[in-house]
């Protein structure tokens, strides 16, 4: 079972309290009517699905109920960090060095 650090509760808690919510930092289109079919495809369906560090959203649904972001290595399932929603995407090279 994954142990996940909720950046709002500042506690590391079992996965059962959390819901995965897909890849992070996918911004909604600002002007949907101006989007081409290719852009809609990329926004709706294309995912980076990396083998390695993955930026993803989680929700502490059975706790503080907040959405937050995480960087997790999809090979080891180890969390490199979690951070609050709205904070900028962390620099991966610095994370891996640490």
């Amino acid at each position: 079972m994954l142990l996940i650090h909720c950046p709002y509760c500042d506690e590391t808690l079992p996965e059962l309290e959390f819901a995965y919510a897909g890849e992070a930092h996918i911004a909604r289109p600002l002007d949907p009517s101006a989007m081409s079919d290719e852009e809609w495809r990329d926004f709706l369906f294309i995912r980076s699905n990396p083998k390695g560090p993955h930026f993803e959203r989680w929700r502490h649904i059975h706790g503080c109920a907040r959405f937050f972001n995480a960087v997790r290595d999809t090979v080891s399932d180890r969390f490199l960090m979690t951070y609050k929603a709205g904070e900028p995407r962390p620099d991966l090279s610095k994370l891996e060095a640490a």
Binding site: P14, L16, E17, H60, G63, C64, A65
Partner: protein, 170 residues
């Protein structure tokens, strides 16, 4: 088997009751003040009222039924300076009290949290098997579970099973 259980009748007890107390859940709009409060876990008590901070901008208020109108009015009065949503959820939930020397052990059958880290007098929202619950610690060996009514039979059945297993010495 915990020593306290040997040959005694100190099995954990539970009882189901529709909570007599009124409960209200307040959702304040996002704001620096709300988040700052969450860092300090701004649980509060005033008289018979208890406000439990569930998240950075969400509180659960327990209060006697008679104070319902007063709480709603206080919320309305504060609305201009602190925009929020106040929803009465009394009818939604049932509380189970679990007590006895093996109470903590009984809860661990379906609650993933480390209950040793829940201090007496505190509470938290967590999960019991697949049902969301608010878990209160009323004493060293006394807990309370607030469960949505539709999940209550499932939670109750699990507690029954667990109690029977502990009683049988599993």
């Amino acid at each position: 088997m915990p020593p306290g259980l040997c040959g005694s009748r100190n099995w954990p007890r539970w009882r189901g009751s529709r909570s007599g107390a009124r409960r209200e859940r307040g959702d304040a709009g996002p704001g620096a003040r709300a988040r700052a409060a969450w860092r300090g876990r701004s649980d509060a008590r005033a008289g018979d009222r208890t406000a439990l901070c569930l998240g950075p901008d969400e509180w659960l208020i327990h209060a006697p039924e008679a104070e319902r109108d007063a709480i709603v009015e206080a919320g309305a009065a504060a609305y201009a300076s602190a925009p929020h949503a106040l929803v009465e959820i009394s009818d939604r939930e049932i509380s189970y009290a679990v007590s006895g020397p093996a109470a903590r052990e009984l809860l661990t059958i379906a609650c993933p949290r480390d209950l040793d880290r829940l201090a007496t007098g505190r509470a938290m929202r967590t999960v019991f098997d697949t049902a969301q619950v608010v878990l209160w610690r009323d004493g060293e060996d006394a807990f309370r579970l607030d469960v949505w009514r539709s999940f209550a039979p499932h939670v109750r059945a699990l507690l029954e099973t667990g109690r029977a297993e502990i009683a049988a010495g599993f």
